[in-house]
Symmetry: C2
Subunit: 342 residues, 2 copies
DNA sequence: CTGTTAGCGCGTTCAT
DNA sequence: ATGAACGCGCTAACAG
């Protein structure tokens, strides 16, 4: 027996011989219903394969139980990892996730946010594609939004990220500690907080050590494997070839390594490399990578927790700080892609 | 000036001095509205930062412009890649994606599907966590569903996958062509079509060559890095150590490689390894992996296209085949993890 | 071409 | 404890 259309609350009510209000009460547990009637309702719902219509419910309640997640690049393994953490806590709390991939394009990101609002998501998590002022209005309107990983410049609101400055600092100090002096950096667009901060950490470490940061060994911009590759070629063809490099992004790191391979520059013998983000597969790399690891899933968990806490406060009318910033500590993992000089 | 609540269509109508029907017509382009009135409406909408309420619209139209995507494991890089393809075609068609991670757990998957229905998604894409009969009712009820990658046994409906049998066949033939005879296999749960088919391909190739498939060199079950590791330890400790192995899953492959490393079994000198799924980072592996590559993003694109085509047909009342099966061809990429015997 | 209006399915009063 | 009636914001059918 096939039903043409989904069962509605009325169908359930009819079958159970009660009113829709009773069905609603049973489903949501909002009122006390006599045990046997409740049982009847549940049986009816079951037999009709009834699924409460979230759409109708949302229209009525003003809440959708959906949160939007906007990321800049789903093929960057970092983000799926974060999402898995976010998804975990969201689904536990009965929330679903609408996932949007902005493709590193602020315009697309803007459109995505717009459709997210159309769908009346209760809140959003975003790792921005570029620093822009487009979020200001959201924050001013107090729309529940939590940034993670990449945070807009001058943003005043809730956010979760790694201490990227410290990550850059440690990575570079490690290189310096191995007696390197000609240290290059391959960094992503400086409009992104993550990369800007890591670059700052790099500069700080260099300055501490009294080392010069030459323009030609400081390649900033781009985010892709290809840009890492291009930068790599340039860097490794410099008359004064750097002996060490810090790549602030895992994709650019892959590109850089390809360049080194092509040019026959052995790592770590002729070039020490330290990167960002650790994955299950890095242990299979040759050489095994020295990297700065982020608590990736934890970023997702914390960001979602922050958002849900906020939503709950909103629901209960209680006051909540909407500018809670969580900074997680990264961890330098020294392996074999970095070696001492001399 | 901050608005407490979102602007509604009525607000726009009022501000523009027209009726709600006119606003609706302008927004959706469903009727001809005089140019100047349309202009006024657009201006009003703009100034009020109006976002049409998809929730209300859905309630009315019965369509949500959202499709659900259920995957078994978001931390398996294969799936985000597929999703990026699916997302690409969905967003072009004005659809959003609700992403659900089932964690390889059929029960969780069932729950996720249920909430997806509650949210009245127009259709779903699913790579199932286990073969079960739970989908039959969906298909019988003709709910728009397209399976990808992992397809339920005996499923009669739309699906997109790689020719896994052929993938397993080619991988094994390659090994055999290199004169290996003691060939082992590390495979995922045989209830999953992908792994079952790859295993079948393996058996076929072995049979073709008149090679025996010994029970002890045929490790089936599990999906994780850890299970690949365990199987690897067992296999490499066999009195008659295999000289080659086919891992049907990228995570198990990582585990196997770890086991080989720990046991000091050099690849490819003492063990040739061929895996499944290619990624940007495999070129950095040592040794570079011989693998069977799937057209990953294409799987996502095709699956979503199939689904959207179906939805359009449904909308237009035209007939559409709801059991279109697309099988994509894999590609063996020979690199350095496999070597000839003797 | 434009306005009026009846629901879509649900949660929520307000009666009983 | 339970039921009837209303309305959330929107679309579509109809009237003008």
């Amino acid at each position: 027996m096939v039903k043409k259309t989904d069962a509605t609350m009325r169908d359930v009510a009819r079958l159970a011989g009660v009113s829709v209000a009773t069905v609603s009460a049973v489903i949501n547990g909002t009122a006390t219903v006599s045990a046997q009637r409740a049982q009847k309702v549940r049986a009816a719902a079951e037999s009709l394969d009834y699924h409460a219509d979230q759409i109708a419910r949302s229209l009525k309640t003003g809440r959708s139980n959906v949160v939007g997640v906007v990321i800049p690049d789903i093929t960057n393994a970092f983000y799926p990892e974060v999402i898995s953490g976010a998804e975990e806590v969201a689904s536990q709390a009965g929330y679903s996730l609408i996932l949007c991939n902005a493709n590193e394009d602020p315009r697309q990101e803007q459109r995505l946010l717009s459709t997210l609002f159309s769908h009346r998501v209760d809140g959003v998590l975003v790792a921005c594609s570029d620093s822009s002022t487009a979020y200001d209005s959201l924050v001013r309107r107090r729309f529940p939004i939590v940034f993670f990983d990449r945070i807009p410049q001058g943003f005043r609101g809730s956010a979760v990220s790694t201490d990227n400055f410290s990550g850059g600092l440690e990575a570079t100090r490690h290189l310096i500690g191995m007696r390197h002096t000609r240290i290059a950096i391959v960094a992503g667009r400086s409009t992104l907080s993550t990369h800007a901060d890591r670059l700052e950490g790099f500069r700080k470490a260099m300055q501490e050590a009294g080392l010069p940061v030459r323009d030609e060994s400081c390649r900033v911009g781009g985010l892709t494997i290809d840009s890492g590759y291009e930068f790599g070629l340039e860097l490794l063809r410099l008359p004064e070839q750097p002996t060490a490099v810090f790549c602030t992004n895992n994709k650019m790191l892959l590109g850089f390594l390809r360049a080194a391979r092509e040019l026959g520059v052995a790592c770590p013998e002729r070039i020490s490399v330290v990167g960002f983000d650790d994955y299950a597969w890095t242990e299979n790399f040759h050489p095994q990578l020295t990297i700065v690891a982020q608590p990736t899933r934890e970023i997702g968990r914390q960001a979602m927790t922050l958002l849900l806490t906020r939503l709950q406060a909103l629901r209960e009318g209680s006051r909540s700080h909407d500018n809670h910033v969580i900074v997680l500590q990264p961890e330098l993992r020294v392996r074999q892609s970095t070696a001492g000089l001399l």
